[in-house]
Symmetry: C2
Subunit: 236 residues, 2 copies
C-alpha cells in the first residue's frame, strides 16, 4: 500500500489550516502528536528492552513533539533524559519543559556522553520545516545518532534530511539512517529513501481536510494513535 | 484498595495549580481528560455493542471533556451525537465544537428523542464544580438518563449529585445511578455512594503534585490513560 506524501509547503499549509479553520490549538495538536510518538517508542522499544530514552530536542515544533512524548514515556515508566540545547522563549515550550522538570526528568548538555548510557534515542530535532544547513550544535548530535548502535526513532523526518529529497549526498546526515520513523498526519516525500520501520501518527485529521490536501487517513486500529505502514523505501 | 478522595474545593485548587505552577494549559488538560473518557467508553461499550453514543454536554469544563471524548470516539469509528443546549462564548468550547462539526457529528436539540436511538449515553453535564440546583434545561435530561435502560457513563460525577454527599435525597437526580463513572485525576467524595464500574483517568499528574494534594496516582498499565478501580460504594 503506497501512501501519498505531503511536501514541505503542503505540510506547512495543512498545519496552518488545522489551526485556523480546523480550530485546533497548537497545544492540542502537539499533545496528540507527542502522544503518537510515545506510542511508537512503546511499540518498537518495550520497556523491558531498557527504560532509558535519550530525547534530542530541536528548537521548533518537532522539538515540542519530543517534549510531550518524553512526558508520556515517563508516565509509562520509562526514564527519559532530555538534550535541549536551543530553547526558544516561546511560552508553550517553556511550559512543556516545566512539566518535565516536575517529573524530575534530567536535562543534559553533553549528547554523546548521554548516549553512552541510553537504550533508545528519540530524534526530535528537525521536522518538515527544516531546510538548508544543520546549524550548531546539532552536527555533532546527528553524527552521533548516525554512528550509534542504539536504535533511533525519528519524528516526522530524520533530522538533516531534505524533506523532498531525503538524505544529503555528503556531509552531516549523509550517513544517518534511523531505525524507525513516525510520519505525523502524512508521510513526507523523503520516505522514499527510508528503509526502516515506518509509522503514521496523529489521529485527529478530519477526512474532509485530508481530502483537500490529497492524502490518505490510514486505518488506525482500536484506540491506537499510530499505525505501522510499509516503508516506501522498502520497495526501491 | 481504597482510594483517597478529593473534595470540591481541593479539586478546584488542584486544577488551578496544574494550570499555574504545573504549567499545563486548559487545552492540554481537556485533551487528556477527554481522551481518558473516550477510552472508558471504548472499554465498557465496545463498538460491536452499538456505535451510537449520545453525549450530553454541560456549559463548563465537564462539557468540554465530553466534546473532546466525542471527537476521539468518532475517530475510533463510533457515531456520536451531541446535545449541547447551553454554549458559552468561550473560545475553547467554540473550537472544540467546530472540530466536531468538521467530522460531520450531528448536534441535536431534543435529548429524550435522541435517546430513543442511542446505544450508550455519556453524561458530561456537570463536574466537580457543580453545587446547588440543576437548572433548565437539564432536569429533564437527568430524569431521562435516570429512567433509560441504555447504559450511562458519567464524567467525574453523576450530574446532579452533590460532590461531597452524593445523590440528592429528593427531586432531580435522586434516582440517577449511572452504570459507569470515570473520576478525573482522583475520585470525589461522592464515589462512596456509587456502585457501578469505576475508573480513574487523567494520566498526567506528577507524583509531587499528587502528594501535595494527598491523593494516590493509580497504577496505570501499558499505554492506558485509564484504570479500573473498585467502586467505593461496593463496600458499603
Amino acid at each position: 500500500m503506497a501512501f501519498k506524501t505531503l511536501g514541505a509547503k503542503a505540510a506547512a499549509a495543512l498545519d496552518k489550516e488545522l489551526m485556523s479553520s480546523g480550530a485546533f490549538s497548537l497545544d492540542q495538536l502537539m499533545e496528540l502528536a507527542g502522544l503518537s510518538v510515545s506510542q511508537v517508542v512503546y511499540r518498537v522499544h518495550p520497556i523491558t528492552k531498557g527504560p532509558k530514552i535519550l530525547v534530542a530536542v530541536g528548537p521548533g515544533n518537532n522539538g515540542g513533539d519530543g517534549l510531550v512524548a518524553a512526558r508520556h514515556l515517563r508516565h509509562y515508566g520509562y526514564q527519559p533524559t532530555i538534550y535541549y540545547p536551543k530553547r526558544p522563549k516561546n511560552e508553550l515550550y517553556q511550559r512543556l519543559t516545566k512539566q518535565l522538570e516536575d517529573l524530575n526528568i534530567p536535562f543534559v548538555d553533553d549528547f554523546p556522553d548521554a548516549l553512552k548510557s541510553a537504550d533508545h534515542v528519540l530524534d526530535a530535532i528537525f521536522g518538515f520545516s527544516f531546510s538548508g544547513e544543520v546549524r550548531e550544535p546539532f552536527p555533532a548530535v546527528i553524527n552521533a545518532m548516525a554512528e550509534t548502535k542504539i536504535p533511533v526513532t525519528s519524528v516526522d523526518a530524520p533530522s538533516s534530511w531534505n524533506i523532498e529529497d531525503g538524505p544529503p549526498s555528503e556531509g552531516v546526515g549523509s550517513n544517518f539512517h534511523p531505525d524507525v520513523l513516525i510520519s505525523l498526519t502524512a508521510p513526507k516525500p523523503l520516505v522514499k529513501h527510508f528503509k526502516g520501520l515506518h509509522f503514521i501518527g496523529g489521529r485527529f485529521v478530519a477526512p474532509s481536510i485530508a481530502k483537500k490536501y490529497d492524502f490518505d487517513v490510514p486505518e488506525y486500529e482500536g484506540l491506537d494513535q499510530i499505525v505501522e505502514v510499509e516503508a516506501a523505501g522498502q520497495k526501491l
